[in-house]
């Protein structure tokens, strides 16, 4: 049985109600749910299905299709390292390996203590100041080993 930390059915209902009458409401609803809970709690799925008159399978299909939607809360910090070609051309592979080694997690994993989630991202559009990263929503360009180490230190706070 999956746990659902922070789950609040009333809040979920309020969020669903806020968007349900817009055109194509599913993605805006899921974005808002994730914003509120940090992930898409499973009990929200049947509620969304009911409100939009679609099947629960359709909702689950959408939740699992998009990379952005989380099925469990992320770590306290989220460090995304761009791994696309323009960053590869400037050494992003080595930086990812360094981050993996120092944090003891692989790309796509959260540390056991829940401190940090390390993720790949395929392009932040900062290809002219690559390699790039995003930490807790803040973007960083011209990443090198020193700058990366500073970001890794931030994740231990």
């Amino acid at each position: 049985m999956k746990t659902t930390p922070g789950w609040d059915a009333n809040l979920a209902a309020e969020i669903i109600g806020r968007h349900k009458d817009t055109e194509g409401p599913l993605l805006p609803i899921l974005h808002s749910l994730q914003h509120a809970f940090g992930y898409i709690p499973e009990p929200a799925e049947p509620m969304v299905a009911e409100a939009l008159n679609i099947s629960r399978a359709e909702v689950h299909g959408v939740v699992t299709f998009y990379h952005d939607y989380r099925h469990a809360p992320a770590g306290r910090h989220v460090l995304k390292l761009c791994q696309a070609e323009a960053c590869q051309a400037c050494g992003s592979d080595a930086l990812a390996a360094r981050a993996e080694e120092k944090l003891g997690v692989k790309l796509g994993e959260t540390s056991a203590d829940g401190r940090v989630t390390l993720e790949p991202v395929y392009c932040l559009g900062l290809c002219s100041v690559s390699p790039s990263a995003m930490i807790d929503g803040r973007i960083v360009g011209r990443l090198d080993a020193n700058k990366l180490d500073a970001l890794l230190a931030e994740t231990s706070r």
Binding site: A84, C123, G125, C127, S128
Partner: protein
């Protein structure tokens, strides 16, 4: 005396290099020294190696300094403002007038005419720099819009290069109670950032372009689908849409006319395939972003089954200048069937990366060597990927290829959305081919088999080749697989992934042969 204007770009490339902190420091310095300073968060001029590039307005014009790091801010501030006067004085980081810089002088800026110059959140500033002249001309002769866009020769800047005017005409000719304009701002290709720059630096030009499209085809509602990786662009677009509504250029009476047009930003959720137009429409409808089979065309049955114009940001943002200056003016730039200008994005291992808008026809070699200045690592350029993750890798031997849709297609490549990613000689092309397949496997929508299964088999096959296992046989398998993906896939994701793979194999065979490679290379 009015405040001295200092420009600190709010463009994500500048912000990623510290522009927000610099803006704060400048505010503090101005307060300390009691100098009346107005900070404008402009877009970027596109000289990204100079970002964050600060500018001060002086009696002689705007004077730039860059790249400014945290430790330089105070001395740059003092050079800009001697004794409280807008001086633009000497400093080791002084660039001079940005428009006089060789990188800018060599360009023809039509789509990007205002980017980096105006305050992106100010409708007044937009209008003061020629904004809404295109729409006003369109309103004077609305029946002529589609013809003008067709005559201009404008082709879809998202990558497919389909004539924009023909798309619009199809929608205009289709009867329906509701039509839509959808802007594809799901700029997922690595090496591209022109859409992001326009949205962050000149968002009203996109709003104006979409409004003109709405009037041309009879659509009253538009959506801008922006990828979630672009939070800054989302913010600026939303602010600009609000300002446009307040200013009466969007909403119930567009510029006082009887036309209705409104816009909404929708945010993607991290799926590369949603940059494909039909997958994007499904995503907007709240479905999995899966590719639709065509026909029906989106122009007949698009968003919610209604006739829909779906265009890239750059295509729509180019419409206002075409309406303002005329189709003839725009058409006069370019070569062959590639008319007008292309905002080219120089990225990766380059000395001078950034945005370079120029008429079609410039060669790849000029772009990489002369404009981009070669690799910043100081090593020789080995390969250049043009057109994003689905674009071919070009060797130096093909650097004489002119930037033109047909010329690139003739060399088994594509210009795509105009991104150029440069690699030095340390790159392993087999690894890049493997990545192309891996990326396709990660991002495949799963609807068609060649893309969904072919990409995974492709990764495995490249792995075997890299390990030296039955090399000749596996090279044959890879070639055959690429052929199946190219001709059997539903959309460009599976259909174009063979471009980077086969170009790597064709132009750099040495990276696929020889001794067995170590696992550690991955």
């Amino acid at each position: 005396m009015s405040a001295i204007r200092i420009y600190v770009p709010g463009d994500a490339a500048a912000v990623a290099c510290g522009a927000d902190d610099i803006a704060k420091t400048i505010r503090d310095l101005a307060a300390q020294r009691r100098i009346d300073v107005q900070i404008v968060r402009n877009g970027s001029r596109g000289m990204h190696w100079l970002e964050p590039m600060l500018e001060v307005t002086t009696p002689e014009g705007r004077i730039a300094y860059g790249p400014v790091e945290a430790g330089d801010v105070e001395s740059v501030f003092d050079a800009m403002l001697g004794n409280g006067q807008a001086l633009g004085g000497e400093h080791k980081l002084r660039v001079g007038k940005p428009e006089d810089h060789p990188f800018m002088k060599k360009q023809t800026r039509l789509t990007f005419a205002r980017c980096g110059i105006v305050d992106p959140r100010s409708l007044e500033d937009y209008c003061a720099h020629g904004g809404y002249r295109g729409l006003n001309k369109a309103l004077a002769k609305p029946a002529n819009i589609v013809n003008e866009v067709t005559q201009s020769g404008l082709r879809g800047r998202g990558g497919a290069g389909f004539p924009t005017g023909i798309k619009w005409k199809t929608v205009a000719d289709t009867k329906a109670d509701q039509k839509y304009i959808v802007c594809n701002a799901d700029e997922g290709d690595s090496g591209t950032f022109a859409d992001r720059m326009i949205m962050e630096g000149d968002p009203f030009v996109l709003i104006e372009g979409m409004t003109i499209a709405g009037i041309a085809v009879g659509a009253t509602k538009g959506y801008i689908y922006i990828r979630s990786e672009y939070p800054h662009a989302i913010d600026v677009m939303n602010d600009a849409i609000s300002a446009a509504r307040r200013g009466g250029v969007l909403g119930a009476k567009v510029c006082g006319s009887d036309y209705v047009f409104d816009l909404e930003v929708r945010v993607g959720a991290g799926a590369y395939v949603c940059g494909e137009e039909t997958a994007l429409l499904d995503s907007l409808e709240g479905k999995r972003g899966q590719v639709r089979a065509k026909p029906p065309l989106p122009a007949h049955k698009g968003l919610f089954g209604k006739p829909t114009v779906i265009n890239n940001v750059l295509s729509l943002a180019t419409v206002p200048i075409i309406m303002d200056k005329g189709a003839e003016f725009y058409k006069n730039f370019g070569m062959g069937r590639s008319r007008g200008t292309m905002p080219i994005q120089l990225a990766g291992n380059l000395n001078y990366g950034g945005l370079f808008e120029t008429a079609f026809g410039i060669t790849l070699g000029e772009l990489v060597d002369d404009i981009g200045g070669g690799c910043f690592t100081g090593r020789p350029v080995k390969a250049v990927q043009v057109g994003g993750p689905l674009g071919a890798y070009f060797p130096r031997a093909l650097f004489d290829t002119p930037f033109d849709y047909e010329a690139f297609a003739a060399k088994d490549g594509l210009i795509g959305h105009g991104g150029i990613v440069v690699f030095d000689d340390s790159v392993d092309m087999a690894k890049q081919a493997r990545f192309a397949m891996e990326f396709c496997a990660i991002e495949s929508c799963g609807k068609c088999t060649p893309c969904r299964i072919g990409s995974t088999r492709g990764v495995e096959t490249v792995d075997r080749i890299m390990k030296g296992i039955e090399r000749t046989k596996n090279l044959e398998v890879l070639t055959d697989l690429c052929n199946t993906m190219k001709f059997g896939s539903l959309c460009a994701l599976g259909g174009f992934t063979p471009y980077p793979v086969m170009s790597a194999l064709t132009h750099f065979p040495e990276d696929f042969g020889g001794a067995p490679r170590l696992e550690a290379a991955e």
